[in-house]
Symmetry: C2
Subunit: 204 residues, 2 copies
Amino acid sequence: MDLLGLLALGELLAFERIALDARLAPDLGRRAQLSEAAVGEIRNYRLLADRIAELGADPAEAMAPFKEAIRSFDASTAPRDWLEALVKVYVGDAVADDFFRAVAARLDSGDRAIVEQVLQAGPAAEFAAAEIRAAVETDASAAGRLSLWGRRLVGEGINRAQVVAASHEHLAGLIAADGGSVDAVLRHLTRAHQERMKAVGLNN
Amino acid sequence: MDLLGLLALGELLAFERIALDARLAPDLGRRAQLSEAAVGEIRNYRLLADRIAELGADPAEAMAPFKEAIRSFDASTAPRDWLEALVKVYVGDAVADDFFRAVAARLDSGDRAIVEQVLQAGPAAEFAAAEIRAAVETDASAAGRLSLWGRRLVGEGINRAQVVAASHEHLAGLIAADGGSVDAVLRHLTRAHQERMKAVGLNN
């Protein structure tokens, strides 16, 4: 339940953040494209909230313990321009997907089915990846700045994840159920992040 | 095309505004409900943008002339709390629907079909109306404050509409095609607004 609450809140706040950051777009066409892509996140939220309700809990209550961690992550990583906003969408979505994959094996079959559906989505990340790739190709100087920004996002994300894991023992146990450690999961996420930065022309 | 551009931008910015104002919610459950309802607006945007493209124009270009009017309306009517945000959703959606209805008769059949679809939606307005009604029932003092706020929203909206009509002759002609005047359309919108304020327990 902790896990579903954390994931549901992550999707809900990703939706709000993307709709908000779309206003940084250089033109109305791209602004609309990013806003439309944000709908994928709120659909994921609905799948997770329905599952929480099905299990007899209240989605708002299940999400509440994680509000401060995500809020403080967002406050410390507010993008200053359109490309930084896109890197945050791309990195954030991807890390969330990796996290889903890492925990999927430990869930029962009902929850696993939801995770598979959630992993299918991701129009916001696809749009962001294409835009970043194009920007880096036409302006090589953007690559250095955005690579640094990507590292900062992942660093801040790992900090918050460690705080959350430390204060929710049950969650930490679930994440590291195979005898692995939370640190091992975070190292895996970092490696996957580095691969993905390369895929859009950024360094790690 | 002017008309479709104005309506498309109205829906796109309504989506962003609702996603943004959802953060004023007193709890995560209602915050999520309003965010989910915002999806109706972005769907309407997509219908209108597709129609603009079908007619051989670029949606971003069709919307651009109206950006300043809507931006300045939003800047002068930023809600200070959750109930003000809901009244803005309710009044804004309803006035947009009235406007759609007023112009629908003047459109060709392809555009009329889109307007009918757009008029079917409105989960955000329904959610807002139910919340306002409940708030006014439990706290009578809220009614006076929100009634005043509703009048202010409509006043500001009519101001901007007059500016837009004055600077887009073709649009003004289309709106008042039956020999009526833009003023008559605005008077009609005002009357319909008053009925709707009553429906949620507010005065006009």
